[in-house]
């Protein structure tokens, strides 16, 4: 660990590190494509979940506001994109116009959720946000009449993929002898968005606004007495978190080509929250690790549970789906018992735990 810290002091080493990570990120989809295109798609979904976790981390990790309905903003972003780029209304706007609109509408919904819940904290806030998430999903499920806005449970199909002119993210292009399939193109776009979101998050955390969020998390009354307009700062957390969710939702819509209210159930909110908590609330890198782990481990299990059982016992004892959830639940319980602050706790939380142990 000390060696790693020393390395950080050398700018050259830092740049070499960045370059290595960059090359790895560039090469990754081709390596995955060797295993199977499915893995590139899985990676793309994992990146979407990282985006969602980073958005939720602003609300839960920084500002300390427990939000159990976060997936609603993902849904709002996804539906915004679907409605403005599909045959449903026969509107086909380009993605670079819709994504900001989706972020703005999700942001509006964030404020909508934030305003009535300003005085709530902890359990009470969790219940209200849980209700909010369900309300949004049920609306999408039922807004097929009197006016068919969302097409109800059937969802919206044939959603446009991202495209700029003739360059479509759905087609395979060959460039420099390399075959760029649709998922690979999305991978690069997602990675780019992710890098921007990470930088934005790091900068927000280490800023006047980020400190105000932390102050509210630590002691709201003291924060107010120190001149922090807690109303505004809390709404800002909800709005920022929701915007990230909205952007992720729009990208999800375009990548899948089909969305329905099924994709935005409570379990998804819980999953994103679990990613934030598992990784380490408030620590951006921890949250990223948490989201990647919880996205990939179930998929790896899906592909390994069956062969492993066959090799060990000669037949299938437990369905992969069952054992997946079992191991997932077990992992969360063990995590909370042995590393309550998450895999990579934020620096201060870590220090706090160390002091408690001694």
């Amino acid at each position: 660990m000390q060696a790693l810290l020393d390395l950080k002091k050398h700018p050259a080493a830092t740049w070499i590190g960045f370059a290595l990570v960059g090359v790895a990120l560039l090469a990754l989809p081709f390596a995955l494509a060797q295993v199977g295109t499915a893995w590139v798609r899985i990676t793309n979904l994992a990146i979407l979940f990282v985006l969602l976790s980073l958005g939720l981390n602003i609300v839960v990790g920084f500002a300390g506001l427990l939000d159990l309905g976060y997936i609603a903003f993902y849904a709002v972003g996804a539906y915004t994109y679907a409605l403005l780029a599909s045959p449903h209304f026969n509107i086909h706007l380009p993605f670079w116009i819709i994504l900001p609109i989706g972020a703005a509408i999700a942001c509006l919904f964030g404020v909508l959720l934030g305003t009535p819940t300003l005085k709530l904290r902890g359990d009470y806030l969790a219940i209200v946000t849980l209700g909010f998430g369900e309300i949004v999903r049920i609306f999408f499920n039922n807004l097929s009449q009197p006016f068919n806005l969302t097409n109800g449970p059937q969802g919206i199909t044939l959603i446009d993929p991202f495209h700029i002119g003739d360059f479509s993210f759905a087609k395979t292009d060959t460039f420099l002898g390399l075959s760029f399939s649709g998922p690979i193109k999305y991978y690069y776009l997602l990675t780019l968005v992710l890098l921007v979101v990470i930088v934005v998050n790091l900068r927000l955390q280490d800023s006047r606004i980020g400190r105000a969020w932390e102050a509210i998390r630590e002691d709201e009354i003291a924060a107010r007495a120190m001149g922090i307009n807690t109303t505004r700062i809390k709404l800002l957390a909800f709005a920022m978190g929701a915007s990230f969710g909205g952007i992720a939702g729009g990208m999800f819509s375009a990548m899948q080509g089909f969305i329905s209210p099924e994709s935005f159930i409570l379990v998804e909110s819980v999953m994103v929250l679990a990613m934030v908590v598992l990784g380490g609330m408030g620590n951006i890198w921890g949250v990223i690790v948490g989201a990647l782990l919880l996205s990939f481990v179930p998929e790896v299990l899906r592909y390994t549970v069956e062969p492993v059982q066959k090799a060990l016992f000669g037949r299938m004892l437990v369905e992969p789906e069952v054992i997946r959830m079992l191991l997932f639940g077990l992992a969360l319980v063990l995590m909370m018992l042995f590393r309550p602050a998450g895999l990579l706790p934020s620096a201060l939380r870590k220090r706090e735990l160390e002091v408690k142990r001694t």
């Binding site: 102050a215 003291a222 007495a225 120190m226 807690t230």
Partner: protein, 277 residues
């Protein structure tokens, strides 16, 4: 701190001074309890004004009404010539009143430095876009915030603790950190709720020096304190509350001799006995 505004040695009783804070018949009731009953007083610029009274007399309630945590049922505070009525706590802080809490309320998981940096919030501007883009202005502001926070930690004498988590500071240092955080908001009036509680004699003596220095540097102080030795030695004037009512006000020495005050502190019977003796 702003340069000392020639308020080195105030003689409050003799020379009429500029009023900083006026309470006009402030009242507050919680259910059946009259926490404050039409309390009126005036604090002048540059004073250290003591607020004493037995437990439950309404001292902390007065702080909470003053800083906008509760709305008064009657009366009003006038600060620097303008009423504070209807202002929220963060607006009161922006007007120039900062406070500490009887039961220390630091941002426990953050470092001492960050605690003080948060105190700078109300005097700085950077918003979301500034934070994300990190333009030259935001960077300069951040630098100034940090520099000022260090200065204030040094001012209250806990600079060596800058990077320690606030909750792990020794008790006395936590009290000092609360004062530094409050000073970061550049208050005209610093309201301290029992800053010496739990301190030993040495710590109290150095707290007294700190209070005198803060006053010397131009900040008026309103002090709730149970340590009578400290109150009598540092306060220019003292207000005594009992059951929410003002029972005495004046220079520390005079208030100390006031029979009503003695009765309030020692109980009616004892004071009768004293009179009989």
């Amino acid at each position: 701190m702003s340069p000392a505004a020639a308020i080195d040695a105030p003689a409050p009783a003799a020379v009429p001074q500029l009023a900083l804070l006026k309470a006009n018949g402030v009242g507050k009731r919680f259910g059946g309890v009259q926490a404050l009953a039409a309390v009126s007083f005036t604090i002048n610029h540059g004073e250290i004004y003591g607020l004493i009274g037995p437990n439950g007399a309404g001292k902390t309630s007065l702080f909470n009404v003053l800083t906008g945590i509760y709305a008064p049922d009657g009366g009003e505070f006038v600060f620097d010539g303008l009423p504070l009525a209807g202002l929220k706590p963060h607006e009161v802080a922006a007007r120039g009143i900062a406070r500490t809490f009887q039961n220390i309320r630091l941002f426990g998981n953050l470092s001492a430095l960050e605690n003080v940096m948060i105190g700078r919030h109300v005097r700085t501007q950077a918003g979301v876009w500034g934070a994300i883009l990190r333009d030259a202005r935001t960077r300069a502001e951040e630098k100034a915030i940090e520099a000022r926070a260090y200065e204030l930690l040094e001012y209250v004498g806990i600079a060596r603790r800058a990077h320690d988590q606030a909750r792990h500071l020794p008790y006395g240092d936590q009290r000092r950190l609360e004062i530094a955080r409050a000073l970061a908001t550049e208050p005209e009036l610093l309201a301290l709720d029992e800053p010496a509680a739990g301190m030993n004699a040495t710590e109290t003596a150095s707290l007294k020096a700190l209070l005198e220095r803060i006053r010397h540097d131009g900040t008026t102080i309103l002090l709730i304190e149970h340590d009578m030795k400290l109150v009598m030695s540092v306060c220019d004037r003292v207000l005594v509350l009992d059951y929410g009512k003002k029972i005495a006000e004046g220079p520390a020495a005079a208030v100390q001799q006031d029979p009503a005050v003695i009765a309030a502190y020692l109980g009616g019977e004892v004071s009768l006995n004293l009179k009989g003796a």
